[in-house]
Assembly symmetry: C2
Homo-oligomer: 344 residues x 2
Amino acid sequence: MSHALKEKVDARVSGVIAGDVRTSARLMRELDDDVPHARDVLRELHAHTGKAFVVGVTGNPGSGKSTLTDQLIAHWRKAGLTVGVVAIDPTSPFTGGAILGDRVRMQRHASDGGVFIRSLATRGHLGGLSRSTLDVVRVLDAMGKDIILIETVGVGQDEIEVTRAAHTSVVVMVPGLGDDIQAIKAGILEIADVFVVNKADRQGADRSVQDLRSMLELFRPSTASLQGAWADAPRGVAQSFGEDGWQVPILKTVATDGVGVSDVANVIENHRTHLKRCGDWKRRERDRARLEFMEALRERLIVGVLAELDAEQGQFDEILDRIAARKADPYTIADDLVSAKGIP
Amino acid sequence: MSHALKEKVDARVSGVIAGDVRTSARLMRELDDDVPHARDVLRELHAHTGKAFVVGVTGNPGSGKSTLTDQLIAHWRKAGLTVGVVAIDPTSPFTGGAILGDRVRMQRHASDGGVFIRSLATRGHLGGLSRSTLDVVRVLDAMGKDIILIETVGVGQDEIEVTRAAHTSVVVMVPGLGDDIQAIKAGILEIADVFVVNKADRQGADRSVQDLRSMLELFRPSTASLQGAWADAPRGVAQSFGEDGWQVPILKTVATDGVGVSDVANVIENHRTHLKRCGDWKRRERDRARLEFMEALRERLIVGVLAELDAEQGQFDEILDRIAARKADPYTIADDLVSAKGIP
């Protein structure tokens, strides 16, 4: 790296660490657009990360998870904490306003310097969603945000993987299961640290809590044994820890009215305490490191190999033509290319 | 490959090409589980693919796309065509039955030898969804299925990418936009070749058609100019082609009653004719080849490099520990590893 470039990178690293909004927003944009050297800034930032508490909030469209997220932001801001938000649910009002809709609920945080919201479009290259999310989380972390909320829809594989990068995963449902139960099949049940049944003033809320409890007992027996205590405590939920791990709480909220929000915040904070106490915090940090490293390695390998292909005029096009014409299969070509590098 | 293994692979290749259900189902399962040598079968199958017409059907949960898919299967079966289905929507009844629900609508095709349905769970490693889908599509293609339907929810990045592997993409919406419009933001608008407003007996169907038309005119002006003609033709839609490309039709259906289903089928078939006529068929085959090759290359590279890491006892763990402890950043470690291979 040239001296001039190094100075530029250093200036931007300092800007992000100082929490400068403009520098940080620009970096996030450039990471998304693969602007050269943006990743060099991220590389330098790595040493300044690892301090934030990362919380995933997932749930189907219409579950009210954006409203809950909004209320959680307000709760933590009142407590003096700074908050970063990564919104990767295309149906969320956080994603920057509807085309025809008028969902401006979140705008109330727009002028609050203690809140930084970044929306990610679910477009781009394969695997781009998780990479972008990891990138943004790292920038928010380096900025010094105390809590980082990742808001996703609970249906896609990428979204679930993304939640694995969080320390604590909150899954928001609504009374009346149906589709929600289907979504649970998709790995949601395994990743949830906290369940919230939102819109609990609707009919069937208690039934949903019971159903969730039954499913937890079925699929995660070790974590579900104390569900009863949780389910029946409407406010000021008492926290209890099993010897073997976390007892997944199921909380009822009416997020639009703020009912139950501080309970959810408390339970999330208790989960952090639990993670730190039982050593799982380190395990989750390691999980995130694994995701980060795999992304970096995958990216670096593919970019390097494609650069070589590109250097040989037309070779990549020729490969695609041969595959499309069924003259060669993609695995054999990939094998030949990679083996030629001496990689086993 | 040993002679015995080669014989085994050959036997399974023959089985799939003959359309044998048991061999094919087993291969799909083994590909998902990364069973050794399953990929060797796929490698050999590649030359036997490229014949099927691949149609993506996407839409939010509750849009009725599963019902429409079910009706399209029935339509094409009546026409004597064989159909393969890849269901990757966790809320779809195709995905093998709900835990609590009772959605058995699709079971009527279960005993039909001309229909093969494969459900994919949205779990597993990063990027696994698109890889698995590509795998299953190739097996169905090699089996000789005339039409392959890929059913996805329209919210995740992976799901949208998966649809790019299709020749024709159908997007199903319901009257009353709201969340649907949000989903459109997420790249859906760019990939749709056909729009269906299902549940068109509900209030607001015409309004939804108009809104969609306006959005198409805004975002894809070159393809939206003839929308009026489409929107106003309730049955037996006449097909017309612009010089520059396909005019995205917007059709109304009531899938539960079968209303409009044959129109949708006709329009999908017309799109195939259009693709073949204008040369875009080849472009889309090439897009699929690109996805396949990138997946194969990524997989081969990462597996090879991780194998080397694994060979050196504990090196991978040590790397993760160093990243998690912020003693090293993932990019620098990836760089060093890859550069050591002589990859630029």
